[in-house]
């Protein structure tokens, strides 16, 4: 017979065992040697019942639903804290805080008037497509904000008012509307990006607007730094809505297909991101609505009928006004040159 040689698989087995014994002795291995011995309990009181569990415990399941392999996930506690307290504080706090700041500002500044009064001549600011894109995004955003708030605040605020039997169908409709309206929201978002992105690219003149806060705090009025089609404040709103909206849509759609791409931890994080972005966007939109309505004379016309007063255009967007003048979009004035 040939001298005995260890076959390859035996060598592999030895190597494997060596690697395993090198690994730190884990809880699992400690359990393997669990036999009655020196550490055995000597009274019933010594047998532990409550063993602290602070980490996720993941095993294997034989059922198709693989997410159920997570045996214990203590992280649910943090998510619970987020869902029952932090989320409500973030959304409610920012919305109420923003409203309060605006109320104080309104008392200080009042409606920002057109300094030179209305001229009566109109300049085309947003055409039909512009306004369609804006209102598609706006209406769907407001619907989603409202339905989201119903699901977030309904339990403490609405159930005591209308009762459980009435709130459940309301919440169910709110959930459906929230999901379905996300589609027109994304369509609107894509449209405003296609229409206005190039006018919202930050430029040097924006710096002056930021430094002077757009003349918002000069009570005399008429102190508006020169701006193109959109000033730095409007650009800020644009990028908030676009980037925040993309983030909300991405996390929102992932929440609608739960566990399709991530496990329980990912779903919890997704929900937190969705909630934080919602809190920020709702506050930003409250500011946007304020300055577009009671905050400034003549501003609503831009998105209302699409045409603004010539004096408003000259005061707020001089560079853009001059462009419109050249193009002949100012009523009653011949294109220059």
């Amino acid at each position: 017979m040939r001298p005995t040689r260890l076959p390859l698989h035996a060598l592999l087995l030895i190597a494997l065992l060596a690697v395993q014994s090198l690994a730190a002795p884990t809880f699992a291995q400690a359990q393997l040697t669990q036999v009655p011995g020196q550490n055995s309990p000597t009274s019933k009181e010594q047998v532990p019942l409550y063993v602290p569990q602070d980490d996720k415990l993941i095993g294997r399941v034989s059922i198709p639903d693989e997410k159920l392999a997570v045996l214990v996930q203590p992280e649910g506690r943090e998510w619970r804290e987020w869902r029952t307290n932090t989320l409500r504080l973030a959304i409610g706090g920012l919305a109420i805080g923003m409203t309060a700041v605006l109320a104080v500002f309104f008392l200080y500044r009042g409606t920002i008037r057109i300094h030179g009064g209305k001229s009566g001549r109109l300049v085309l600011r947003f055409n039909g497509l512009d306004r369609f894109a804006h209102w598609t995004t706006a209406v769907s955003f407001l619907l989603m904000a409202l339905t989201g708030m119903i699901l977030t605040f309904g339990r403490p605020l609405l159930i005591p008012l209308i009762g459980h039997q009435a709130f459940t169908p309301l919440a169910e409709y709110a959930k459906s509307i929230h999901n379905f309206v996300s589609v027109p929201f994304v369509v609107g978002l894509l449209m405003i990006m296609a229409l206005w992105l190039r006018d919202n690219i930050p430029e040097k003149a924006d710096w002056l607007w930021v430094k002077t806060a757009g003349g918002l705090f000069s009570k005399a009025g008429g102190q508006h730094p020169e701006a193109g089609r959109f000033n730095a404040g409007q650009k800020l709103v644009f990028w908030s809505i676009v980037l925040g909206g993309i983030g909300m849509a991405a996390t929102g759609y992932l929440l609608m297909v739960p566990f399709a791409f991530t496990g329980i931890g990912g779903m919890q994080i997704m929900h937190v991101i969705h909630g934080l972005l919602a809190a920020g966007l709702i506050a930003a939109v409250i500011g946007h609505i304020y300055i577009g309505t009671i905050g400034m004379e003549g501003a609503f016309d831009a998105m209302g009928c699409g045409e603004v007063d010539e004096n408003w255009a000259m005061e707020h967007h001089r560079r853009w006004y001059e462009e419109q003048l050249r193009k002949g979009y100012v009523e009653g004035r011949q294109p220059a040159e």
Binding site: Q53, S62, L68, L71, V72, G154
Partner: protein, 211 residues
């Protein structure tokens, strides 16, 4: 009054899945819903342990805290139940539950979830005990008949026990003392580590704080 709990002795469970099958059969649980499941830790490695897990009927149930429609209730025995009439299937309770207990039937191909389903400790739901509606929505109500959960009754090695928590703890501690070791009651620190609220609550009741 007894405080109902589950205790799965990991040293005894042999992963036979009889508890899972018994549960499915007793309550006619639909496909894809797993009120009880077996999770094997350290599978194929030294120290492999299997644990049978379902709703643990926590002292301070996270599911009830996060529910946007406030559909949960807890009986005087500490059993956590919910109303399928109120549930909207939002899925929040699954995110908060430490044990992955809440389950949702798939209602459409777009993945929308139906009303949540979970272990009831064989105690049915808010409907009258033993009624047809109760059986259709939540399965059998063995507790009302004076019987304990079938999963635990079915366990061949008496690894899974269900019943009065104080009695379970006593049995487990005595058996661990006799055999000389025990790794603790799985999930107990998470489920019962917090103070027992000691009083039942129902939708809208003060127990849930309404918030």
């Amino acid at each position: 009054m007894a405080r109902m709990k589950f205790l799965c002795d990991a040293e005894r469970c042999i992963e036979c899945n009889a508890c899972v099958t018994a549960c499915k059969n007793e309550h006619e649980v639909p496909w894809g819903i797993n009120r009880r499941r077996l999770v094997t830790l350290n599978d194929g490695k030294p120290g492999e342990r299997s644990i049978s897990m379902a709703c643990m009927h926590c002292n301070d149930p996270p599911c009830a805290a996060v529910c946007p429609v406030d559909c949960f209730l807890q009986t005087a025995d500490g059993v956590v139940l919910h109303s399928k009439d109120l549930c909207i299937g939002c899925g929040y309770c699954f995110y908060a539950c430490p044990f992955g207990a809440p389950q949702y039937p798939r209602t459409t191909d777009f993945g929308s979830r139906g009303k949540m389903d979970k272990c009831t400790f064989c105690a049915g739901g808010p409907e009258p005990d033993g009624s047809v509606e109760e059986y259709q929505k939540y399965g059998a109500n063995r507790l009302a008949e004076g019987k304990l959960p079938l999963c635990a009754e079915m366990c061949s090695t008496r690894a899974l026990m269900g019943g009065d928590g104080a009695v379970l703890a006593d049995i487990y501690q005595e058996r661990s003392l006799r055999r000389g070791y025990g790794s603790g009651a799985p999930g107990w620190s998470t489920a019962y580590g917090r103070n027992d609220r000691g009083s039942p609550f129902a939708p809208g009741g003060p127990g849930t704080g309404g918030a």
